[in-house]
């Protein structure tokens, strides 16, 4: 059982991926803060993804694993 602030080893990783797999992909609404770059730049939409400004806590391996799961 993983609890609190422990996240180590393969079991943690497996639990993490299991939880991620169970996530139903949320229908995110586009923000209205920048009503620009919508139709005209459709070619560019969703062609790039960036980590949070203050940094991610995901490891490179986890990112790759999630990329594989993505459908």
């Amino acid at each position: 059982m993983i609890s609190g602030r422990k996240y180590q080893g393969l079991s943690s990783f497996r639990l993490f991926t299991r939880r991620v797999k169970s996530v139903k992909q949320a229908k995110f609404r586009l923000p209205d803060i920048q009503p620009v770059y919508l139709k005209k730049t459709a070619q560019f939409r969703y062609t790039i993804i960036d980590a949070p400004r203050e940094g991610s806590i995901l490891s490179a391996e986890e990112v790759r694993e999630m990329h594989k799961m993505w459908k």
Binding site: Y7, V23, Q43, Y46, T47, I48, S56, I57, A60
Partner: protein
């Protein structure tokens, strides 16, 4: 609104200002439920202020009084007066802009706070423009507190620009506004400023009177400053000498001036910057009466006198000169002659040996004539003594700047001055230096003109002609009364060329002879090129042979300012938004609109020049301003270049080249780099490397401080320089393409070319890194929504700057068409960052992967107990710092 301006109550000391600031910030964040819990320590309080500066329109749009609340906070930040506070205020000013209060007052308020912040961040030129705009006659809605702050900031900026007369003008306005509004603290502070000015001018009577007024009611927090000024006044009015060591730290509860210090105790004179205000104050305090000056050696008295002349302080200058005359008559006479004849002519006159010929010939003299436009009309309109006041600052600016290039004024002729280079001594100033300093002086003149307009003086426009040729240096008149001067055809030529500038797209015209009758090769030393250069061909000159001339104008020829990416602008008089603003209307040229089909702002402006021209019609040049997004890119710079081209007389418009440029820029802005194999010869490649190189040099040279604030100007100036060089090549090589045209001038931007070649090698090193790998990546087909696998690259902290371009065009990639998928791990010890992208041209995207990674981030953070701050929420996520899903586009291109 005035009734709600309560921020200053109980904010009379540094501590009180800080507490008030936290209190106001806490209130505002509570109002929008964005207040983090348990704020008590000072670090946490600072985080609170950071959170405030991060708020945007969305976060505050439901608040009943966002502008009033934010304004209160800005006023406190300005009063606090440190660099960090100005940076925060600057960011908040952009948020304020979005809120449209009654009569659009928020525009003016926003510009005011932005301008004051810029002055505080040592960007006085841009800051002055913004503050003046906010204080314009249209801005009657600005409350007295804010108007008062504006005048105070401009007064400070005028001091920073070494213009004490102008500073006094605005100090008067500041005091009047404070008196009309009954702002006791501001009245008191303005009295202190006037006292400093009186002391600097050495005005005993006024300073005695002023200090009496000040001492009648001194707030406790200001006692240190008042004591210091009282001691200085006493020394000025008596024979007491103040020892330099007696001045301790002068603590002020909040700054008297903004953007610089006025007194720095404890710094040895040799370590002080010699051109700043603090040095002047220290000098005047230590040597404020004849007794204290008499204690100095003659050489130092001469230095001090020169410093008084630099700051235009006639009384103190006279005092220093008189004592110098008593001490060392020879030095005094040389000093006086220098003031009358100029440094180089005095030196030539004094050092002339008896055996030298009476008249000497100089073959390669450079002559510069500068003339004030519409001077006759000015003379009719103003009394003659006022004309002195109008034109003297202008000639002073020219002289100071040109002496840096070893130039000397040989004639003052009413509205005209003639300068000579390479004549009176053996120094040889390269033409590049002469042009560089001429352009700098023109820019300074424009700023001065903008300020002059505000105090009711006329706008000053000038024309400049530069010619090269042989002249004779000698004395005219008899030996008993003579005058050292120059005679030669080059002088007449420079004057005639100057008169041609009236009908030209550039205010500076220069003859081809100045470039040794060759095509100018100025971009071999690109860093010195702070101007646009344009071949204007042969000009018929009255009573002379036709002359081949080039036009020169500053790269930043109009007022420029920057706004954040994604800024939403409104139409404003005299202001033109370029490649930002989120609108297409006169004054806002932004192609990032759903209904717009043009691939770049440059192409949009070319198709609809009326967006610019209709908007600025009948507006004086000094009042036109361009606003661009921060970190200006190729489209931004090219659109500005096109705008300048359109603003010149129609016959000078180079349509074919501009069409070609707009087409090229559109492709770049769409992420399609034409002929990537020719990157090192392309406009795009040189543009990117040159601007980054210039920025890096700038940041290294001006370590820390406010270097970052000026970086956008450096980027834009560098970018415009490269575009102008490219357009210049295109004029001579019409068949060339922007994607490879620097092949025609291999000597230009050589270092940039080397860097691109080095970058390719770095990319190859990146590829050979053990952690770089080919990667089978799932991607989504845009049209069908189906998934497929492509071969991509996973790079770890690549050293190459153009890695994306190299990778996407890598012939060694499967299929020989480059890698369509790229993941870059930018992680460092303290921060993990991954940027994942697909080629926009490939017909694939990553839709859905971002939300999945965001979900993973959330789960792992929950497991570790490390949640992210929730407010302000960044939609479409539910926290303040989510993954970026790729809904915008500009990230793709960087």
């Amino acid at each position: 609104m005035t009734a709600l301006c309560t921020a200053y109550e109980g904010a009379g000391t540094e501590e009180e200002i800080r507490e008030k600031l936290y209190e106001r910030t806490r209130e505002l964040l509570s109002d929008i439920s964005a207040l983090p819990k348990n704020i008590s320590t000072s670090d946490q309080k600072e985080n609170l202020l950071d959170a405030l500066a991060d708020l945007n329109y969305s976060d505050l749009r439901h608040h009943p009084h966002p502008v009033i609340r934010l304004s209160d906070i800005c006023r406190l930040l300005i009063r606090k007066g440190d660099l960090l506070s100005f940076r925060r205020c600057f960011r908040i000013s952009h948020t304020i802009y979005r809120f449209k209060c009654r009569q659009n007052e928020s525009w003016y308020v926003s510009h005011l706070y932005k301008g004051i912040s810029q002055i505080g961040m040592k960007l006085p030129d841009t800051g002055i423009s913004n503050v003046l705009f906010s204080l314009s006659d249209n801005a009657r809605v600005i409350c007295p507190e804010d108007r008062n702050l504006g005048y105070w900031a401009i007064m400070s900026a005028a001091v920073a620009n070494r213009n004490l007369k102008m500073a006094l003008e605005f100090a008067h306005r500041w005091q009047q506004t404070a008196q009309q509004a009954g702002l006791a603290e501001e009245i008191f502070r303005s009295q202190l400023i006037f006292q400093i000015f009186h002391l600097l001018y050495g005005d005993r009577e006024k300073s005695r009177k002023q200090i009496k007024e000040i001492m009648q009611a001194v707030p406790e927090a200001w006692q240190g400053v008042c004591g210091f000024l009282g001691e200085w006044t006493q020394a000025l009015c008596s024979k007491t000498c103040l020892s330099p060591d007696t001045a301790g730290a002068v603590s002020e509860p909040y700054p008297l001036f903004t953007g610089f210090e006025w007194f720095r105790p404890g710094t040895a004179e040799k370590d002080q910057r010699r051109d700043d205000f603090a040095f002047l104050c220290k000098l005047r305090r230590n040597y404020c009466n004849r007794e204290s000056i008499r204690g100095l050696p003659a050489a130092e008295i001469e230095c001090c006198a020169a410093y008084m002349a630099l700051w235009e302080l006639p009384g103190p200058l006279h005092e220093f000169e008189q004592i110098l005359k008593d001490r060392d008559a020879g030095t005094f006479h040389r000093f006086s002659m220098t003031r009358l004849l100029g440094k180089y002519r005095t030196s030539a006159a004094i050092q002339k040996a008896l055996t030298e010929p009476h008249v000497k010939r100089k073959e390669d003299a450079v002559l510069l004539t500068m003339d004030i436009r519409k001077f006759s009309g000015m003379c009719e309109e103003y009394p003659p003594e006022k004309i002195f006041e109008i034109i003297n600052p202008l000639f002073k600016i020219m002289n100071e700047e040109m002496e840096k290039a070893q130039g000397t004024i040989i004639e003052f002729g009413g509205d005209c001055i003639i300068l000579a280079f390479n004549t009176f001594d053996r120094s040889q100033t390269p033409i590049s230096d002469i042009i560089y300093h001429t352009v700098r002086s023109i820019r300074k003149l424009r700023l001065h003109s903008a300020l002059s307009l505000r105090i009711g003086l006329p706008e000053l426009k000038t024309g400049v002609g530069i010619a090269k040729g042989s002249v004779a240096v000698g004395y005219v008149g008899g030996l008993s009364r003579c005058h050292m001067t120059l005679i030669g055809n080059a002088i007449n030529l420079s004057t005639r060329i100057e008169s041609e500038s009236k009908d030209s797209p550039s205010e500076i015209l220069i003859s081809r002879a100045c470039f040794d009758d060759r095509e100018p090769d100025v971009w071999t030393e690109a860093e010195k090129v702070n101007y646009f250069l344009r071949d204007l061909g042969f000009r018929e000159i009255k009573n002379m042979q036709a002359v081949h001339v080039y036009g020169i104008s500053p790269l930043l020829r109009y007022r420029i300012d920057f706004v954040p990416m994604g800024f939403v602008a409104e139409k404003e008089e005299g202001v033109v938004y370029i490649d930002t603003g989120n609108a297409i209307c006169p004054g806002v040229i932004d192609h990032h609109r759903a209904e717009q089909e043009k691939g770049s702002a440059c192409a949009l402006l070319l198709e609809k020049p009326e967006l610019l021209l209709d908007h600025i019609r009948d507006i004086p040049e000094a009042q036109i301003e361009f606003r661009l997004h921060s970190d200006p890119d190729t489209d931004c710079a090219a659109t500005l270049y096109l705008a300048f081209e359109l603003m010149a007389p129609e016959k000078y418009f180079r349509r074919q080249i501009m069409e070609k440029l707009a087409e090229y820029i559109s492709r770049i802005d769409q992420g399609q780099i034409p002929e990537p194999e020719n990157l090192e010869w392309s406009l795009y490649g040189i543009f990117m490397v040159h601007r980054n190189r210039m920025k890096k040099k700038w940041m290294e040279r001006k370590k820390g401080g406010t270097a970052a604030e000026k970086a956008d100007f450096i980027l834009l100036e560098s970018g415009l320089r490269v575009i102008d060089a490219a357009v210049c090549i295109m004029e001579h090589e019409p068949a060339a393409e922007f994607s490879s045209l620097f092949r025609h001038r291999p000597g230009w931007f050589c270092r940039e070319r080397e860097i691109i070649a080095e970058d390719r090698l770095l990319y190859e090193t990146d590829l050979s890194h053990p952690r770089c790998r080919e990667y089978t990546a799932p991607v989504r087909m845009k049209k069908s929504g189906e998934f497929k696998h492509v071969r991509g690259l996973w790079l770890e902290n690549p050293q190459s700057a153009f890695f994306k371009l190299w990778a996407r065009n890598e012939p060694g990639a499967p299929g020989g068409r480059g890698y369509r998928f790229l993941a870059v791990d930018w992680s460092a010890a303290d921060k993990k960052r991954f940027v994942i992208s697909v080629d926009p041209e490939s017909g694939t995207d990553l839709k859905g992967l971002g939300p999945l990674l965001e979900a993973g981030e959330k789960i792992k953070r929950e497991m570790l107990g490390r949640p992210r701050p929730r407010h302000p929420v960044r939609p479409p996520s539910d926290n303040s710092d989510p993954w970026y899903f790729g809904q915008g586009h500009h990230y793709t291109l960087n």
